[in-house]
C-alpha cells in the first residue's frame, strides 16, 4: 500500500476512534452523548452464563439451545469445507486442496512427533477431529452473525404448580433511569402528555390503560428508592393511553407470584431458570384470583441470539472432555492390555506380597512390603482421581477461554465502539488456534502416556 493509502486508513481509524470514544460508554460517562440510539452498543447482558439459551422446543424436555445450533453450523461448515477441498483432487493441488494438505500434513507431523509413527497414525483421526472442531467453533464465533447478531423471540409460559388464590404479584415494572417515560396520557384536546419517573427503581401502576385520571391523581407508586413509596402524579387530566415500562425478569428463578394454597406458608411461583426477559402477566391475573394447577399466569418474552459460540456452553465442552477422556482410557486399555491397565488403578500386588511375608513369619520384610503396598493402593486411587479431574480441567479450560474472549470483545466494543474491539479480534484468532492445539495436544499427550508405559516406541 502506498504511503498515501496508509495515511488515509490511519485517518479513518483515528476519526472512528474519536467518535467511538465520545459516543461509547466512556464518553457517555463523561456526559457526551452524540450517537443516535441505533448506533449505541448495548452493555453486556449474559442471559445464562454456563449454557446457551433455549430457542426451539423451549417448553419440551429437550430444548434446542443456540449453542447447539451453532455446533451444527460448525459441523456443516467443516464438512462442506472438506468436501470442497477434496471434490476435484489432483496430483498437483490447487489452492484450496494445497491449503488443506499443508494443514493436515502439519497436524500429522505434530502428532507423530509426540506419539511416534504407529500410535500417531492411530490417534490422528480423533485428535484432528477435536482440533478442527474446536478451531472452527472459535473462528466461526467471530463472525458478526454470532452473539447478538440475529435474535429470535422466545416465549415461555409460566404456570402455577399448585391450586390456590393469588396473594401477591411480585414482579413490578422497572424504570431504569430518572425521567424515564412510564405512561402516556391523552388529554381532552387531543395532545399527549408524558408521565415521567421521579427516580430509577421499581414501581407499581395504580391505573390501567383506558382509565380516566384527573390532574394530580397518582398514576404509579415508586418503590425501592424510598421505603414508604412516592406517588407519581398525572401532570394533566385525561385518559391513560399507554403504560410504557415493561416488567423485567433480571435474575434466575425470580419470584413471580405468591399463591395461598391453604397451607401455613404461601407458595411462590418462580420464573424459569436461565431465562431473563420481559414478563407479562396473563390477562385477568390479579390479586385475589383463584388459580388451579398448571394455570398459565404469565408469559416471559426474551430475545436470545440465534447463534452463540458453541464452546461457550459448558455442556458442549464437558461432552468433548468426556469424549477425550474416554478416548484416552480406551487407548490405554487397548494399548497395554486389561491387566496392566487396571494394575495402574488397583495396585494391590505389593500389599498381598507383604501379607504373605507377614504370615510366613518374615515380620520386618513383611511390614516394609505392606507399608509400600498401602502407599501403592493410595497412589492408584490418586491416579484414578487425577485421570477424572482431567475431564473437569479440559472442560473448564476451553469454556473459560472462549467465554472470557467473548466477554472481552463485547466489553471492549461497549467501552469504545468499533475500534477498541479490533485488536481483541486478532487476539481471539490466536486464542482460538491455541486452544484447539491445547485441547487436541493434551489429549494426544495423555493418550500417548497412557499407551506409552509398556510400548516399544522409539
Amino acid at each position: 500500500m502506498s504511503r498515501r493509502g496508509c495515511g488515509l486508513v490511519g485517518l479513518v481509524v483515528l476519526i472512528l476512534f474519536i467518535v467511538g470514544l465520545a459516543g461509547g460508554a466512556i464518553g457517555r460517562g463523561m456526559g457526551i452523548d452524540l450517537l443516535p440510539q441505533v448506533l449505541k452498543v448495548p452493555s453486556l447482558e449474559i442471559e445464562s452464563f454456563f449454557s446457551g439459551e433455549p430457542i426451539f422446543l423451549t417448553d419440551g424436555p429437550f430444548p434446542i439451545t443456540n449453542t447447539l445450533v451453532a455446533s451444527w453450523v460448525t459441523m456443516i461448515v467443516a464438512t462442506l469445507f472438506a468436501l470442497a477441498a477434496t471434490r476435484k483432487m489432483k496430483i498437483i493441488p490447487g489452492r484450496l486442496q494445497g491449503l488443506v494438505e499443508m494443514a493436515l500434513e502439519g497436524l500429522i507431523n505434530f502428532i507423530e512427533s509426540v506419539a511416534g509413527h504407529k500410535n500417531g497414525r492411530r490417534f490422528f483421526p480423533m485428535i484432528a477431529t477435536i482440533f478442527i472442531f474446536v478451531m472452527f467453533n472459535a473462528y466461526l464465533a467471530l463472525l458478526p452473525v454470532y452473539g447478538p447478531g440475529i435474535h429470535v423471540t422466545v416465549e415461555t409460559k409460566i404456570e402455577t404448580k399448585d391450586a390456590g388464590t393469588i396473594v401477591e404479584l411480585l414482579v413490578h415494572p422497572i424504570a431504569e433511569e430518572k425521567d424515564e417515560v412510564i405512561a402516556l396520557i391523552k388529554t381532552a384536546d387531543g395532545s399527549r402528555e408524558e408521565v415521567k419517573a421521579p427516580a430509577a427503581g421499581e414501581f407499581e401502576y395504580s391505573v390501567s390503560v383506558d382509565d380516566y385520571v384527573s390532574e394530580g391523581q397518582a398514576v404509579a407508586v415508586m418503590m425501592g428508592t424510598t421505603d414508604n413509596g412516592t406517588e407519581v402524579a398525572a401532570p394533566v387530566a385525561g385518559t391513560v393511553v399507554k403504560l410504557e415500562v415493561q416488567r423485567k425478569i433480571e435474575e434466575n428463578e425470580q419470584p413471580v407470584a405468591k399463591i395461598d394454597t391453604g397451607a401455613a406458608e404461601p407458595v411462590i411461583v418462580n420464573s424459569p431458570k436461565d431465562k431473563l426477559g420481559e414478563l407479562e402477566y396473563h390477562e385477568g391475573v390479579a390479586v385475589g384470583q383463584e388459580v388451579s394447577i398448571d394455570d398459565e399466569i404469565a408469559k416471559l418474552t426474551s430475545t436470545p441470539p440465534f447463534l452463540r459460540s458453541a464452546s461457550t456452553d459448558i455442556n458442549m465442552t464437558l461432552a468433548m472432555a468426556l469424549l477425550a477422556v474416554v478416548f484416552i482410557e480406551l487407548m490405554g486399555l487397548t494399548g497395554r492390555g486389561f491387566k496392566h491397565y487396571m494394575g495402574e488403578y488397583i495396585n494391590v500386588g505389593e500389599l498381598f506380597r507383604g501379607m504373605r511375608l507377614l504370615f510366613t513369619g518374615k515380620i520386618v520384610d513383611g511390614l516394609m512390603a505392606s507399608v509400600t503396598g498401602v502407599i501403592n493402593v493410595i497412589i492408584g486411587g490418586l491416579e484414578f482421581i487425577s485421570h477424572m479431574t482431567r475431564m473437569v480441567s479440559f472442560a473448564f479450560r476451553l469454556f473459560g477461554n472462549m467465554t472470557a474472549g467473548e466477554i472481552l470483545v463485547v466489553s471492549a466494543t461497549f467501552l469504545i465502539p468499533w475500534i477498541m474491539a479490533m485488536p481483541f479480534y486478532g487476539l481471539e484468532l490466536l486464542i482460538g488456534f491455541i486452544q484447539a492445539l491445547i485441547f487436541g495436544g493434551l489429549t494426544l499427550v495423555f493418550a500417548s502416556i497412557a499407551v506409552g508405559h509398556g510400548s516399544e516406541e522409539h
Binding site: I46, F49, N252, S393, F396, G400, N401, A404, I434, L437
Partner: protein, 76 residues
C-alpha cells in the same frame, strides 16, 4: 460488614489472588524462554511453540479464577 460488601470483596479477592499464580507462572515462562533463546538461538521454533503451549496452560489457571469470581459476582 454487610453480606453485599463481603460478596464484592470476595469477587475482587478471588480475581486478584487467583491471578497472582498465573502471573508469576507467566513471568517464569518468559524468563525461561528468553534464557533458552539466549543459550540456543537456533532452537527458536521449538522453544516458542512450547512456550505458547505452556503459557496457554498457565493462563487457563487464571481463567479458572476468573470463572469463580464471575460466578460469585453473578450467582452468590
Amino acid at each position: 460488614m454487610d453480606p453485599e460488601s463481603v460478596k464484592y470483596l470476595a469477587v475482587g479477592l478471588t480475581g486478584s489472588i487467583g491471578l497472582l499464580g498465573p502471573a508469576l507462572g507467566l513471568g517464569l515462562i518468559g524468563y525461561a524462554t528468553v534464557t533458552a533463546l539466549g543459550r540456543n538461538p537456533e532452537a527458536r521454533g521449538a522453544i516458542l511453540t512450547n512456550m505458547i503451549l505452556v503459557a496457554a496452560l498457565t493462563e487457563a489457571v487464571g481463567i479458572y479464577a476468573l470463572i469463580v469470581s464471575i460466578i460469585l459476582g453473578m450467582v452468590a
